[in-house]
């Protein structure tokens, strides 16, 4: 116990004397949380639209004004031929081209239907998919307005009409920041936790002080604990800063209790720090440790359900996410922040995280060898 006291004293002194660590602790969370949520947004806005209106009728104009009145589309140009629009698209100036045929209004009135042609630049898949979906729903909307005006609905509609009404639970306004900010918090803790701890022991290897430690009668688990605890405290400080920013900048106040968030984060940090320490014990210099931890963090984050939904991944990828601590953390923090889940709801995740923490730290202690 006394040994641990000396180790902690030394470790904290070194941390507070290292300006780069202090910068990481304070600047990284602020930048990540203030900048990323505004940029990393699934909403597509300002899609550049080119319209080829061969009809130039009242209806076609109404359709166009309906489209441009949303803030999703920017009317980039009216062009005379599809060929022109295509050229603009190839030049990257246009994302979507909408061609309205010459007899649009006549067909719509006479036949109750009229085709329009939509060409989407699918170089950016997400943008193309969402953009064309938005546009289609606007056109569908327009279509039903026209039908309502022209077709006298009989009292008992011969056509069955199913109207779908959606309500977004837990995030009623579909505010992406509510969705992204907790996720970014997860990434933040993972990055800072795993990389700071990964670099630490290996740094002692590089400067040679580890040799001096290894020649003392220090116990291996004391040494690892002496490294684990300071970074664990730092991780909780970063979490606190992160939650404060989420509240001050985005008004995100967790629906669930802070105690649940801190309890789970505390376990989670033990797991990621254990991973970092493990990397630290098996590598020989800081470059190796950095590369390995970045590789793992990258895989964890991309397969963590932050940017893409885990449910839509193929089976093998979903299998991998069972071994991905980030996936659990993203899931749990969203549950607690948005749904207000309590200890009972996240108990299975707590257990899994506990197993992660024990395994990774145990492995780190095992793989730290005082004698080669």
């Amino acid at each position: 116990m006394r040994t641990l006291k000396f180790l902690l004293q030394k470790e904290f002194r070194q941390i507070f004397r290292d300006p780069s660590i202090l910068r990481i602790i304070f600047v990284v969370p602020i930048i990540q949380l203030l900048v990323l949520p505004w940029a990393a947004d699934y909403e597509i806005k300002n899609l550049k639209l080119s319209i080829i209106d061969h009809d130039r009728s009242t209806y076609s104009r109404q359709l166009i004004s309906k489209i441009t009145s949303t803030n999703y589309f920017l009317l980039e140009e009216y062009s005379d031929s599809f060929h022109d629009s295509e050229e603009e698209m190839e030049g990257g100036k246009v994302d979507i081209a909408l061609e309205i045929p010459a007899d649009f209004e006549r067909d719509l009135v006479r036949d109750n239907e009229a085709p329009v042609f939509l060409a989407v630049n699918a170089v950016n898949g997400v943008k193309a998919g969402l953009g064309s979906a938005y546009l289609q729903s606007i056109i569908r909307d327009f279509n039903s307005e026209v039908r309502a005006k022209w077709i006298q609905m009989p009292r008992f509609s011969p056509e069955l009409n199913i109207e779908v009404v959606t309500a977004n639970w837990f995030n009623p306004s579909m505010n992406y920041k509510f969705f992204m900010v907790p996720g970014i918090l997860a990434v933040l803790l993972t990055m800072v936790g795993a990389s700071l701890s990964a670099l630490n022991i290996v740094k002692e290897k590089e400067i040679g002080t580890i040799e001096q430690i290894n020649v003392t009668p220090i116990r291996k688990h004391h040494f690892i604990l002496g490294k684990l605890i300071p970074f664990w405290v730092l991780g909780l400080v970063i979490l606190t800063i992160g939650l404060a920013i989420a509240w001050l900048a985005y008004g995100i106040v967790p629906l669930g209790s802070m105690l649940v968030i801190y309890a789970f984060s505390a376990l989670y940090l033990l797991a990621v720090l254990g991973l970092g320490l493990l990397i630290s014990t098996i590598t020989h210099n800081q470059q190796q440790a950095m590369l390995i931890s970045f590789f793992l963090i990258m895989v964890f984050v991309l397969l963590g359900g932050l940017y893409t939904s885990i449910d839509s991944m193929p089976g093998w990828a979903r299998a991998i996410t069972h071994f991905n601590p980030v996936a659990y953390f993203v899931e749990v923090i969203r549950m607690v922040v948005l749904k207000g889940s309590g200890f009972a709801d996240i108990a299975p995740y707590m257990l899994i995280m506990f197993v992660f923490a024990i395994t990774l730290n145990g492995w780190a202690i095992y793989s730290y060898k005082k004698r080669s």
Partner: protein, 248 residues
């Protein structure tokens, strides 16, 4: 000096794959002795020393340090030895006092012991005014003397010094050896490797390693007689010329 052996080594060997770094070396070191461990670069000195300190597991052979077996009781050995490695190994971003306190602390020394002895050591090193300066800001010679003081701060029976005076000016080297003599006079056994042959003359007994084997072991004067040489320098050159390997 008593006749009790504090280090005894018998056929100690370390292989890395096919490379035999240390090849069946045998010797004894007596309590209070200053034992010089010489050899060219790559002769296997550091590897041998690391095995004795419990930092490296021997491939074969027997060795005990302070009465403990190097295979099974390596952690007990560590309680009884001090070690100063080739690489400077104090924390540069801790102060002089903090370094002393840290290492003494993990050897399990009491706060009172640490406080009293720190004052004494700082006085001896003339570092009292620098006690709260970061070690990184001290000149190399001071750092080395401080590292030695830290290595024997917990009052071990044996101290292992791996090229402790590398890169240090002659005056500081002289002072450093005064500290070694003083430690030896206090009953600490000194096991030291060096490249400086004048330092070899200060040792009680000297062993010279060539290609992983001990080629000569005796007092400096007996060695000079045996090899018909005027100085340890010549003894070393005569032996080292036979070496087939170097560190490059």
């Amino acid at each position: 000096m008593s006749n009790e052996n504090v280090i005894s080594v018998d056929g100690l060997t370390k292989r890395f794959g096919h490379f035999v770094a240390v090849d069946h070396i045998s010797f004894d070191v007596k309590r209070g002795e200053i034992f010089g461990f010489l050899g060219a670069n790559g002769a296997g000195k550091t590897t041998a020393m690391r095995m004795l300190c419990g930092l490296s597991l021997p491939t074969e052979g027997k060795a005990t340090v302070a009465g403990f077996d190097v295979y099974t009781q390596n952690e007990q050995i560590k309680k009884n030895i001090g070690y100063m490695s080739q690489k400077f190994s104090l924390y540069e971003n801790l102060t002089v006092k903090e370094n002393i306190r840290f290492y003494a602390g993990i050897y399990g020394k009491s706060d009172q012991f640490i406080r009293q002895k720190t004052e004494k050591v700082l006085e001896q090193l003339h570092l009292t005014n620098e006690a709260d300066k970061l070690v990184g800001s001290l000149p190399l010679g001071w750092k080395q003397k401080l590292a030695f003081s830290v290595a024997i701060f917990h009052e071990p029976g044996i101290v292992f010094l791996d090229e402790p005076t590398g890169g240090v000016d002659p005056v500081t080297r002289r002072e450093f050896w005064n500290m070694i003599y003083e430690a030896a006079a206090n009953g600490i056994t000194i096991f030291v490797t060096t490249h400086y042959m004048d330092e070899a003359e200060y040792c009680g007994r000297v062993s010279i390693m060539v290609d992983g084997r001990i080629e000569a072991l005796d007092t400096p004067s007996m060695l000079k007689q045996q090899f018909d040489a005027a100085s340890m320098d010549q003894v070393f050159l005569k032996l080292a010329r036979k070496a087939e390997r170097s560190d490059n």
